[in-house]
Subunit: 139 residues, 3 copies
């Protein structure tokens, strides 16, 4: 049984979805691991992980609109607004989505469904350097 | 250390909760694994996984009502409605709940609490064939 | 490859955030495991797990206000109110957050980001005895 760990750097350019599926496949492949478990850990509390359809981009646009209505940006709405009107909404969006995902590996491949992509969802409106830790166990 | 993988097929008959706890127990048991970790991966973006009380069915009814108010079905509300008025709400419900769960195994049993059941939550209003990948590591 | 399992008892004194980061570090450290995966399982459906900023307490206050507006307490709002007006809102809050987290261990340390803390979030208004199962695999 082997373990491999790596940190993936994701440069975001403000609020939006940054697909990391290809990077996950590159990390998990070519290590001679046929069966295993890939864990993805987001090291932040104002961006998060999401599995969503990677076919029609309208899905992501509608998700963005939904969360913008659910937890609107704005000074005066929240006590914590030290970093701006998008600060607290970012924490709320992160609380409602995922900080961690674990994807099984079968025959050397992530078992994602046909339409599934893995995204880092940046919730801040300005660009950020994000870190995602990848941990693989298997053989 | 052993690993076992299997795909669980779940035939849903439209929106609702389909309990998979017994199927998870059958998969994890009888393999001589006393201590381990069972990972459950849902291969879809319009249904999801949820751990909830499996005693009083009113809990599931209230959850359904809550999510129906939070992300109402309806044409005109969302850009993405290719598959009908329940298409985008299904993606939103999936984003707000789980695509993956990992449950520790102790003394050959899932460590679920007394009232916990694991559900596949179908968010589409029509019946679907769903796939859930089960990955077990332990010894 | 080793596995270690332990149950962490958390005595809550009503609705609020109870940080368990230090307990997780104590559990994962001092076992000679340099690389691994720590899984945390909450054995309840009316409290949950959350990774959030552990610097400014205003973040937790705003999260509490947000969820109180999203799923208000109150008799008459929900069918399931057997245990009081905070019963069903507790299940909804648990559905929207996490029952399980898996954190990679690198060089003997949890890979939490600088501002990340792990919390048991009690959603019931009265004190409860909660159990969280910790499972560690690694070497």
């Amino acid at each position: 049984m082997l373990q491999v760990v790596e940190t993936l750097a994701v440069a975001t350019h403000g609020r939006g979805f940054f697909e990391i599926t290809a990077a996950l496949r590159r990390f998990a492949g070519g290590r001679g691991i046929a069966t295993g478990l890939l864990t993805i850990w987001c090291r932040h509390t104002s961006c998060s992980l999401l599995v969503q359809e990677n076919a029609d981009p309208d899905v992501r646009a509608d998700l963005e609109s939904f969360f913008a209505r659910l937890a609107p940006d704005g000074r005066g709405r929240y006590v914590h607004d030290v970093e701006g009107p998008d600060d607290m909404p970012a924490h709320i969006r992160a609380a409602l989505t995922q900080t961690q995902l674990s994807v099984p590996i079968v025959e050397g491949e992530l078992v994602l469904g046909t339409w599934q992509g893995v995204y880092l969802w940046e919730h801040r409106t300005t660009p950020h350097q994000r870190e995602v830790v990848l941990h693989l166990i298997g053989e």
